[in-house]
């Protein structure tokens, strides 16, 4: 049945004698003990490394086409060759190389989008949470408005307006995906703004920017990082959806979403064309989500001693 934690526990469990493990080492121990987090982190790290070292690890030029050698199946197929381990696409481009370069694009989209949306969302959330009152009402209404707009549709429409391109997709997604940041940081900030150490900082004479930057921000970092990872996955998936619908990244850039979209026509007879980027995408998103979930578990207050 449920775990009913005696309310005194929170205080009691804190009230133990030093020396104890530092926050960092508890975090590390927690992380190492968290299977999902570790698995996710390893896969993610691998993908990031491969993406960074793309020119070194990619066996071919991802853009070099050779129509005479199109649609070669991967090496595990009887007709496959070791020259093209994952086969070639419809234009005879090496699929493995495209996949490797595609990782760069997905990660780029994920990280830059999160950077933009995170900045916007955090600014909004912290202001709303800290100042409360009217500011909060206005900013909450902003968030509601944003939530009322259907993301895919607005992203598609904006992409159509600004012209679909890598930069366009990043900017559009960055300007759209800040809502969760705002909601989470707002809640976290509200909680912190009411705590005595903020009152203490004010009583000491700290300026508002100082309070926000040194007292509040570090303390909402955990949820922020968690949201950032999850939103990164979200952004990558959305880009894939936009590319799938034809208004995302444009060819010949090897974005995974685009590769899936292009591979769609071969899904009945050469299913690997679509399966390979789809699996890669699922893996990446899965890894990021695992890391995000894991971080949430590890940094959640009930798990911190």
């Amino acid at each position: 049945m449920s775990e009913t934690l005696p309310s005194a526990l929170k205080a009691a469990s804190l009230d133990q004698a030093p020396p104890r493990r530092s926050a960092l080492s508890t975090f590390l121990v927690g992380s190492l003990g968290h299977g999902g987090l570790m698995a996710g982190a390893i896969v993610l790290a691998a993908i990031v490394l491969i993406a960074l070292a793309a020119p070194l690890v990619a066996p071919h030029d991802p853009y070099a086409q050779n129509l005479a050698r199109r649609l070669i199946p991967p090496v595990w197929d009887a007709r496959g060759t070791w020259d093209h381990i994952l086969g070639t696409d419809k234009l005879g481009r090496d699929y493995l190389s495209r996949l490797i370069y595609g990782a760069r694009i997905s990660l780029l989209i994920g990280s830059v989008t999160v950077l933009i949306s995170g900045t916007i969302g955090t600014a909004i959330g912290v202001c709303a949470g800290y100042f409360g009152g009217r500011v909060d009402a206005v900013l909450s209404y902003l968030v509601t408005t944003r939530l009322a707009l259907p993301v895919v549709l607005v992203a598609l429409a904006s992409a159509a307006l600004v012209g679909s391109s890598l930069q366009g997709v990043i900017v559009v997604l960055g300007l759209l995906l800040w809502d969760r940041f705002a909601v989470v940081t707002r809640a976290a900030t509200q909680q912190i703004a009411g705590s005595d150490y903020i009152a203490a900082a004010k009583a000491i004479g700290c300026s508002t920017p100082r309070i926000v930057l040194t007292e509040i921000l570090p303390n909402i970092l955990n949820p922020l990082i968690v949201v950032a990872t999850l939103e990164m996955a979200h952004a990558i998936l959305l880009e894939a959806a936009l590319s799938f619908l034809g208004l995302g990244v444009q060819p010949p850039l090897p974005s995974w979403g685009l590769m899936i979209s292009e591979g769609k026509q071969y899904m009945f007879f050469s299913p690997w064309v679509i399966a390979i980027p789809a699996v890669a995408l699922v893996f990446l998103v899965l890894a990021i989500n695992l890391v995000g979930d894991g971080l949430r578990d590890v940094t959640a207050p009930e798990n911190r001693n």
Binding site: S2, T145, L153, L156, L281
Partner: protein, 305 residues
């Protein structure tokens, strides 16, 4: 309660107003409307005539109010592409999307809520881990990949269900699964977390101390409180689903408003896009408003707020 409702109503209306401004801007950012309406071969004089005829030479605020007035009467002008009333186009496609969304939502609630409750009640056991893994995996699979996979397996290979279209109820099964899938993790997590939180509350301990059976504790005392956020989320999810149905409708060639909007975007048919954005936002706003009210009804504490 009345005051609460009215306050929420004001927020809803102001959000709707903002969305309408955005939708209006969308159309006017898409290019010179007079030229678009007059057609590419029109002479400058003809363009001017169209401009005058459609009132496009008036100041923007006036145009906006005029448009808003018509939009409020569900008159969204004519489609650039079909040269037909947008309202007619949309009302013809709306039932498909609504049906799709409703089935998908029901599906995801039916799966996710019990799963979340079970996971919470059996926290830390295999059931919980299974449910959570299912969640993480679910989130990582892009809707369109899932849709395609469903087509290959259930429509093409097994031939159980139709590939596309909206002819029979069977046509809705696969799309609803693909669409509902997306919401399952969110709903499940929320019911699980809500349930966990409620189960750790003191009043659950009180209920158990009264000698109530575990089922009664969970179903009466816990669920009633845990379900409240799920109600709100269900409404939000329905809004998101209507927005997310673009992808699903595209994959399954269903002629709903998502598909209409997508095609309209690729044809630069912005009156349609605008209307769909506005309608989806309107539905979202209405639903969240209703959810707030229902929440308030469910939670006696909120009635005095």
């Amino acid at each position: 309660m009345l005051a609460f409702t009215l306050r929420r109503l004001v927020v809803a209306l102001s959000v709707a107003f903002t969305v309408s401004v955005i939708a209006f801007a969308l159309l006017h950012l898409s290019g010179d409307l007079a030229i678009t309406i007059a057609g590419p071969e029109a002479s400058p004089a003809q363009v001017e005539e169209v401009r005058h005829q459609y009132g496009l030479d008036r100041p923007l605020p006036i145009q906006y109010l005029d448009w808003l007035w018509h939009a409020a009467h569900l008159d969204f002008g004519n489609s650039f592409f079909f040269r037909e009333s947008v309202t007619a186009l949309i009302s013809e496609r709306m039932p498909v999307t609504m049906r799709l969304g409703a089935i998908a939502l029901t599906l995801s609630l039916v799966v996710a809520v019990p799963l979340g409750v079970l996971a919470a009640v059996y926290r830390g056991t295999a059931i919980d881990r299974l449910a959570l893994s299912f969640c993480v995996l679910g989130q990582a699979i892009p809707t369109f990949c899932l849709g395609l996979a469903l087509i290959i397996v259930f429509a093409v290979n097994l031939r159980w269900l139709p590939v596309s279209g909206t002819a029979t109820w069977q046509s809705y099964v696969l799309p609803s699964v693909a669409l509902g899938w997306y919401a399952i993790p969110a709903v499940m997590r929320l019911s699980r977390n809500g349930m966990l939180e409620v189960l750790s509350q003191d009043y659950i301990r009180t209920a158990r101390a009264k000698g109530l059976s575990p089922t009664k504790v969970v179903l009466k005392h816990a669920l009633r409180n845990a379900i409240i956020p799920v109600v709100a989320l269900a409404a939000v999810q329905f809004g998101f689903m209507l927005g997310g149905s673009i992808v699903v409708e595209a994959v399954f060639s269903m002629h709903g408003i998502g598909h209409l909007a997508w095609e309209a975007i690729s044809r630069n048919d912005f009156p349609v896009v605008q209307a769909v954005v506005l309608i989806l936002a309107g539905i979202y706003i209405t639903l969240t408003f209703l959810a707030d009210v229902v929440n308030a009804l469910l939670d006696p504490r909120m009635r005095v707020a």
